[in-house]
């Protein structure tokens, strides 16, 4: 099976698995606001610089840690690979039972399977993990793995374990679980844990939890084995405490987890003549396996940022793809960051299977991350590698190079060809009869305009001192010329001359997210040339995605001395439509129809902290603004994502649509033609309200439609 077949299969399974999806979404719904509130109150924005320093000096910090850990009496093993780590531990653990606490590193190296294959009994001690283990139930959530298991079932599992009846009451079950697991702790020869941080200066290991099981795992058996990636190393004890604080805050919404333990060697005493003797109430032997697998490569190849991750799980709660697919998005580590780690801990092929192509680039994870890891940015770079290694398929190439290439022959032909291969619904919707360019047949697409916007746009319009330029973007150009025209009208109302430079290209975003960096660079340079000759001070775009892409040119061209400066100057002039209108003090005319309107905030504006679209609507006289919940949740469009993973995209979108419908609005307004395509598909297929409009259509009093 190719990776893409396996991936498609995982997606299908994920979309089937409604139970765990509803648990994840419930946890996000309940926990999300609490976590947000706690972050507001307690976050100190202190971790990023510490992690930057730590990973930037990792080689010396590893050496220092090893020396200090050894000085403290730890037995340190540096494992270059997962296999070495497993072999080392298998030699240490000969039969008997092992009590274990949650650990990503233990999972990464596949230790539990290896131990069990060697005849060792491994007992999970976190209650949720233990429930899943006893019932052979797959986990539904990284923090609450057994949240989907009914209390009745949990009681049965413990009744089977103890041979005694257990009432289906959480309090009673906890009592029984405490007692049965206690015995396991005392019987076990080895305790197995991970680490949240390793402090190089004091040679200490930091672990955190709420139940107290880790304290027992690390204190009661005579031998304790810790497995931790070298990226867990931080310079000081205080840094280790910060990691624990931030992980509790972003992961669980706690200002501090119930138990944070700092362990600095085997149990010892100085009580007898001041001599050091090991193994009092705690373990007399502590091994720490420092796992290097893939970490040095990640640093060498420019992906050091991926190692800033503290596995708090905050990003997972916000990621729309993870919300639907759960642990199927990722491999040993989950979500977008998990995919990146897979590329280095395993292989690019594995990363593809883990979902390298699934990221929507919505940037929710970046906003949710305590260290602001640019996950989508790294994913994009890995896609470039994948394209370089494996090439791009023909259909995708056509789409990027031809259909989205303004004024190409194919683009001109597309409306004609499209109308031949699609059924129409008379409301501006097309239903393809065949699948082409990866577009599934039977789905609803907006009709391609017979004439593209740019082919007939006035080069210059409006009167005024100031000259501004308009960047249309390819969706407006070929699908929504009416939006582009409405935008022109809005701009003309504000006493400026509007120039529509001919020869402008697609912003390059579709190429970039598809791993075709060269294509994106080509388009960027073409656009820079076209706009440079206009001599304007402001370039307005009414597409949120184009805004994000155009303002990203300096980064895209940072390595090209010929264009980097020009790109910076260009990006400084780019304004999103609503942003521009608010800046010039635009007063929207009254909405004569007095419509009830709600707003969908595009991810690409949230990522830049821009909310002017919503502000404009709220200031529009006569209009009744009705907010919808989750206004800034992703619609699931994601550009070509929507072509590749239509069902997934639609499922993500469904969560978006519900609150929009609930708001009771007649019109849903947004600022991105991409989001419009998605909303129109989801709302329009069923002919449902509200109708979808671009903000400029609303501002010019337009009627809006589903097509």
């Amino acid at each position: 099976m190719t990776y893409s077949k396996r991936l498609k299969q995982k997606i299908a399974e994920g979309l089937e698995d409604k139970v765990s999806a509803s648990v994840r979404q419930m946890v996000t719904r309940v926990q999300g606001p609490i976590i947000q509130e706690m972050i507001q109150k307690f976050d100190r924005a202190e971790l990023r610089p510490r992690k930057e320093y730590a990973i930037g000096h990792l080689a010396e910090l590893v050496d220092q840690s090893v020396a200090r850990l050894q000085e403290n009496g730890f037995i340190v093993f540096r494992a270059r690979t997962a296999g070495e780590a497993v072999d080392y531990i298998l030699k240490l653990v000969q039969g008997g039972s092992v009590v274990k606490s949650k650990s990503n590193a233990v999972k990464e190296i596949g230790l539990v399977d290896a131990l069990e294959a060697a005849g060792v009994t491994v007992v999970e001690t976190d209650l949720g993990d233990r429930i899943c283990q006893m019932g052979s139930i797959p986990a539904s959530h990284p923090i609450g793995p057994a949240l989907h298991v009914p209390v009745q079932k949990v009681a049965e599992l413990f009744a089977a374990e103890t041979g005694q009846p257990v009432p289906p009451v959480p309090e009673e079950i906890v009592k029984v679980a405490r007692e049965t697991l206690r015995q396991r702790f005392f019987e076990a020869k080895v305790g197995l844990s991970g680490a949240n941080a390793i402090c190089a200066d004091t040679g200490s290991v930091v672990v955190m939890e709420n139940e107290g099981n880790i304290r027992n795992v690390t204190n009661l058996p005579p031998v304790h084995i810790i497995v931790a990636g070298i990226e867990k190393i931080v310079p000081t004890l205080e840094d280790g405490i910060k990691v624990a604080r931030v992980a509790g805050l972003y992961g669980m919404g706690l200002d501090f987890a119930t138990y944070v333990s700092v362990i600095s060697g085997p149990s010892r005493t100085h009580a007898v003549e001041g001599k050091v003797v090991h193994g009092l109430q705690g373990p007399g032997e502590v091994h720490i396996v420092l796992l290097e697998e893939g970490r040095w490569e990640a640093i060498k190849e420019g992906f050091a940022e991926s190692l800033y991750c503290i596995n708090c799980g905050s990003c997972l709660g916000r990621c729309p793809v993870y919300g639907e697919l759960g642990e199927r998005y990722g491999y040993k580590y989950f979500g977008g960051i998990g995919v990146i780690r897979t590329a280095f801990n395993n292989s690019l092929e594995k990363a593809l299977e883990a979902g390298l192509t699934l990221c929507l680039n919505c940037r929710k994870c970046v906003a949710a991350c305590p260290v602001h890891i640019n996950t989508p940015g790294m994913i994009q770079r890995l896609r470039e590698r994948a394209v370089a290694e494996q090439g791009m398929d023909w259909g995708r190439k056509m789409l990027l190079m031809q259909l989205l290439n303004n004024s190409s022959a194919i683009q001109k032909l597309a409306p004609v060809v499209g109308s031949l291969v699609c059924n129409r619904d008379g409301k501006g919707g097309w239903y393809p009869r065949y699948s082409l360019f990866g577009i599934e047949k039977g789905r609803r697409l907006p009709e391609l305009s017979k004439k593209s916007f740019l082919s007939g746009a006035p080069r210059q319009s409006g009167k005024g001192e100031q000259k501004i330029a308009y960047f249309a973007g390819c969706l407006n150009n070929i699908v929504f010329p009416r939006v582009a025209n409405a935008t022109l009208r809005v701009l003309q109302q504000s006493d400026v001359q509007v120039i529509v430079p001919p020869g402008q290209k697609c912003c390059g975003y579709p190429s970039l997210v598809n791993g075709d960096r060269d294509g994106a660079v080509r388009n960027a340079i073409a656009n820079l040339k076209v706009f440079a000759s206009t001599g304007v001070e402001v370039i307005v775009t009414d597409c949120a995605t184009c805004y994000s892409s155009l303002t990203g040119y300096p980064e895209l061209l940072a390595g090209d001395p010929r264009w980097a400066g020009i790109a910076r100057e260009f990006a400084g002039k780019v304004k999103e439509l609503a942003q521009y209108l608010v800046e010039i003090g635009f007063q929207p005319a009254a909405d004569k129809a007095q419509r009830r309107v709600t707003y969908h905030q595009p991810c690409h504006l949230t990522a830049h902290g821009m909310t002017q679209g919503r502000d404009l609507l709220q200031s529009m006289p006569g209009l009744q603004f009705v907010p919808s919940q989750l206004e800034d949740n992703c619609c699931g469009f994601g550009g070509t994502f929507n072509l590749d993973f239509y069902q997934l995209s639609k499922t993500i979108g469904a969560h978006k649509i519900q609150p929009i419908q609930k708001s009771g609005a007649e019109v849903v307004v947004t600022s991105c033609p991409g989001c419009m395509v998605q909303l129109m598909d989801l709302l329009g297929s069923a002919g449902q309200r509200p109708v979808v409009m671009h903000i400029s259509e609303l501002l010019t009093g337009g009627g809006g439609q589903h097509g």
């Binding site: 679980a177 709420n210 139940e211 099981n213 119930t258 944070v260 333990s261 100085h270 009580a271």
Partner: protein, 369 residues
């Protein structure tokens, strides 16, 4: 007792380790002093904040005005025939062990040094190393005669481990002190080397911690400074072997998202914040006495302590301990603790992380009392 108060070599070994660690952390003493000063100068606010955050974390909190009140609280709480206990000078200060024993409750010391001292029927000689006046041979003899564990030190200690485990698993109450209370989060910070305090604070259903109000610090980082200092100046370690930062009772939400307490650790955490003369000490200009973190560094250099051992001091050993007794137990107690023995050599001040000027404080005390 007529003994040397430390077996030969111990002091030298510890001070060599301490020198090495001090070179590693230059400025630690000043940093520590700053943390303490800043905290003491907002003590009332910190006490209030700590009470509020500890309660928010579902701890039961009591502010005990004096030793008797704290003691009574515990006596009324404990309804079991046996409790386990870890090393704490505050527990000694409130005299809870004899009081519990008088009530017929067996109190099991779980730190090796205290356990040995308890078995031998002696008094702790040092705040960190209570049995440092007892030699290895004597310890082995006591263990053999009282517990029946024989063999070399390792074998004997394995026997002690098993012996104590039996109590640790069956005790309903665990008694500890704490090195710091973190006001921001409502956390107790307990530092130790053996793992016994972890067991005492994790295995029983109820954990009772007694802490002097001067131990409250604003945040976790401050608590780390306090712990580092105690470790470096105490036994010459970078940090104690185990830090347990405990923020509320053990809980799980793994069954249907319902929060249930007492999963693997205690269901109930009771914190007794102890005043017992500390406010008065602060208010009457003896703030410096509250800088002490009981590291014991001063004892090694004090000529009086060398000669008289634990007789010099009261609940807390040495000159500083004698002076502090004036606030916890009154002037008579302070005099009995040897307030007048101080030779004003100032050696203690030189080694103290906070530079506490014990001879000067003692002089001032003698004048006003």
């Amino acid at each position: 007792m007529g003994k040397t108060f430390a077996p030969p070599g111990v002091v030298e070994e510890i001070s060599a380790r301490r020198r090495q660690k001090l070179a590693r952390y230059p400025g630690l003493g000043e940093q520590y002093l700053k943390v303490r000063r800043d905290a003491l100068r907002q003590m009332d606010a910190l006490v209030e904040k700590a009470i509020q955050t500890l309660r928010a974390k579902k701890c039961q909190v009591h502010l005990a005005a004096d030793a008797a009140e704290a003691r009574e609280l515990i006596l009324n709480l404990v309804d079991a025939p046996m409790v386990v206990k870890s090393r704490s000078l505050a527990l000694g200060e409130i005299g809870v062990v004899p009081a519990l024993e008088a009530k017929g409750v067996k109190v099991v010391e779980t730190a090796l040094g205290d356990f040995v001292v308890q078995l031998a029927g002696e008094r702790p000689a040092h705040p960190v190393l209570p049995a440092w006046h007892i030699s290895e041979t004597e310890i082995l003899n006591v263990l053999k005669s009282k517990l029946g564990v024989a063999g070399d030190l390792h074998r004997a200690l394995a026997g002690v481990r098993e012996h104590l485990r039996r109590y640790l698993v069956s005790a309903a109450y665990g008694l500890t002190g704490a090195n710091a209370v973190v006001a921001e989060n409502g956390s107790l910070v307990i530092m130790e080397d053996e793992g016994n305090a972890r067991a005492v604070s994790n295995l029983p259903h109820t954990h009772i911690a007694v802490v002097g109000i001067e131990k409250i610090v604003p945040d976790q980082e401050d608590a780390m400074t306090v712990c580092r200092t105690a470790a470096v100046y105490g036994t010459g370690q970078d940090i104690g072997n185990y830090l347990s930062i405990i923020t509320g009772p053990s809980s799980t939400g793994d069954i249907q998202g319902k929060q249930v307490f007492g999963m693997h650790g205690p269901k109930r955490v009771i914190v007794i914040l102890l005043d017992n003369g500390r406010r008065r000490c602060l208010e009457s200009g003896f703030e410096e006495l509250l800088y002490c973190n009981n590291c014991g560094a001063c004892l090694e250099v004090c000529p009086v302590f060398k000669a008289r051992g634990p007789a010099y001091g009261h609940h807390y050993p040495g000159g500083r301990g004698a002076a502090f007794a004036a606030f916890t137990d009154g002037i008579t107690a302070a005099r009995e603790a040897g307030l007048d023995w101080c030779q004003s050599c100032g050696k203690c001040r030189e080694v103290c992380p906070a530079g506490i000027n014990t001879p000067e404080l003692i002089k001032r005390l003698s004048v006003i009392l």
